[in-house]
C-alpha cells in the first residue's frame, strides 16, 4: 500500500491515523478556545445548540438513507419504514421512548429476515 514511502511501512498506518486525527483535532481545539467566550444562556449559545441538534439529526437520517458498511447491504425501504415506525410510536408514547426504539428495531429485524 505504502511500500514506496521513505517511512518504515509498519509505522505508516499510525502516521495516517495521526494525520486523520489532526483533521478532527482542529475543530475540537477551536471549539475549546471559542467556548470560553460564550455565555451559557445567551442567544448565541441557544443558536449553537440548535445547530448541533439539527446537524446531529441530519447525520442520523443520512445514515438511514445513505448508509455505509453493513447497513448499506439492506434495501432503503427496509431501513426507512422501521425508522419512521419507531419515530411515530415514540410520538404516541413520548414518556416511554424505549417503545419507539424497540418496535423500530423489531420491524427492521423482521424486515431483513423476510427479505
Amino acid at each position: 500500500m505504502y511500500e514506496n514511502s521513505i517511512i518504515i511501512p509498519e509505522i505508516m498506518p499510525w502516521i495516517m491515523l495521526l494525520v486523520a486525527s489532526s483533521g478532527i483535532f482542529v475543530w475540537r481545539f477551536l471549539g475549546v478556545v471559542l467556548s470560553s467566550k460564550i455565555q451559557k444562556d445567551s442567544f448565541f449559545a441557544k443558536w449553537i445548540n440548535a445547530i448541533a441538534f439539527a446537524m446531529t439529526t441530519a447525520l442520523m437520517t443520512r445514515i438511514i438513507i445513505f448508509p455505509t458498511g453493513a447497513l448499506a447491504e439492506t434495501e432503503l425501504i427496509e431501513r426507512i419504514a422501521p425508522f419512521l415506525i419507531g419515530i411515530i410510536i415514540f410520538l404516541f408514547f413520548p414518556k416511554k421512548p424505549i417503545f419507539g426504539l424497540a418496535i423500530g428495531v423489531l420491524f427492521f429485524s423482521v424486515g431483513i429476515f423476510i427479505s
Binding site: S21, G23, G31, G69
Partner: protein
C-alpha cells in the same frame, strides 16, 4: 424509594445503558468494517480511541485501505468533521466547563470525548442535574462509553469472519433511531423545529454537496428553529 446516585455514577450507568448500547452497536459494525478493510486489531482500536468520531473513522478506514495520499486524507477528514466544532462548543457551554479549574489540555481531553451520543445525553440530563454536576456526569458517561465501545469494537472485529452482514446491520440500525428519538425529546420548541428541519434538509442535500450537507442542514435547521420560535413568541406577546 428511588435510589439517588452521584452524578459520576449516574453517568456510568447511562453509558452502560441504552445510549451506550446504541453507540457501541455502531462501533461493533465499525469493528467488522475495519476487519473487512484489512486493518490490524491495534490500529482498529487505536482509530476508535484517537479519532472518536464515526465519520472520521469510516473515512480513515476507507481512504487508508485504498492508499490515499496523506494530504487528501487530512482534507477529507477536516471537511467531514466540522460538526465537531459545534458539538464541542455546545457541549462545553452546557457543562460550563470554564467554571471548573481545568488546564487547557484537560479541557481539550474532555472535548475530544464529546460525541453525538455524549452530547445528546448532556442535553437530556441538563434539566435533571445541577449545572455544576454536569461535568462529573459527563466524566462518568465518557468512561463508560470508552470501555463499552472499545469492547464492542474488538468483538465486532473478531466476529467479522463469522457474522453475515444482515445480522451486523441490526445493531448498527439502533444508533440512528435512538439518537433521533433522543433529539425529538428536547423540551424547547426551537430545538424540536431544528431537529425536524435538519433531519429533512440533510439527506436532501447530501447527493449534491456531500458532507457539507451536515453543516448546511445544521445552520439552516438551527436558524429556522430559533426564528420560528421567536416569531411565535412575538405573536403571543402581541395577542
Amino acid at each position: 424509594m428511588k435510589r439517588k446516585y452521584s452524578p459520576f455514577k449516574k453517568g456510568i450507568f447511562t453509558g452502560f445503558g441504552f445510549p451506550g448500547i446504541g453507540m457501541s452497536s455502531a462501533m461493533f459494525g465499525y469493528g467488522v468494517f475495519a476487519a473487512e478493510a484489512g486493518l490490524d486489531l491495534y490500529l482498529c482500536l487505536g482509530s476508535v480511541l484517537i479519532l472518536w468520531s464515526m465519520p472520521g473513522m469510516v473515512i480513515f478506514v476507507s481512504l487508508f485501505s485504498i492508499g490515499t495520499p496523506i494530504f487528501l486524507l487530512f482534507t477529507t477528514v477536516l471537511l467531514a468533521n466540522m460538526r465537531q466544532f459545534f458539538l464541542v462548543l455546545s457541549g462545553l457551554t452546557l457543562m460550563n466547563i470554564h467554571k471548573h479549574k481545568l488546564s487547557f489540555i484537560t479541557k481539550l481531553f474532555w472535548a475530544h470525548l464529546i460525541s453525538p451520543t455524549g452530547w445528546a445525553e448532556l442535553t437530556k440530563v441538563k434539566n435533571e442535574i445541577d449545572e455544576k454536576d454536569l461535568f462529573k456526569f459527563f466524566q462518568g458517561l465518557s468512561l463508560a462509553l470508552v470501555i463499552f465501545n472499545s469492547t464492542t469494537t474488538i468483538i465486532g472485529y473478531k466476529l467479522y469472519d463469522f457474522l453475515p452482514n444482515d445480522i451486523v446491520s441490526i445493531p448498527v440500525f439502533i444508533m440512528p433511531l435512538y439518537l433521533t428519538i433522543l433529539m425529538l425529546r428536547a423540551i424547547e420548541i426551537y430545538y424540536r423545529l431544528a431537529v425536524v428541519t435538519g433531519g429533512i434538509i440533510g439527506p436532501l442535500l447530501f447527493p449534491y454537496i456531500g458532507d457539507w450537507s451536515l453543516i448546511v442542514a445544521g445552520l439552516v435547521g438551527g436558524s429556522v428553529g430559533l426564528m420560528v420560535s421567536y416569531l411565535l413568541n412575538k405573536d403571543k406577546i402581541n395577542v
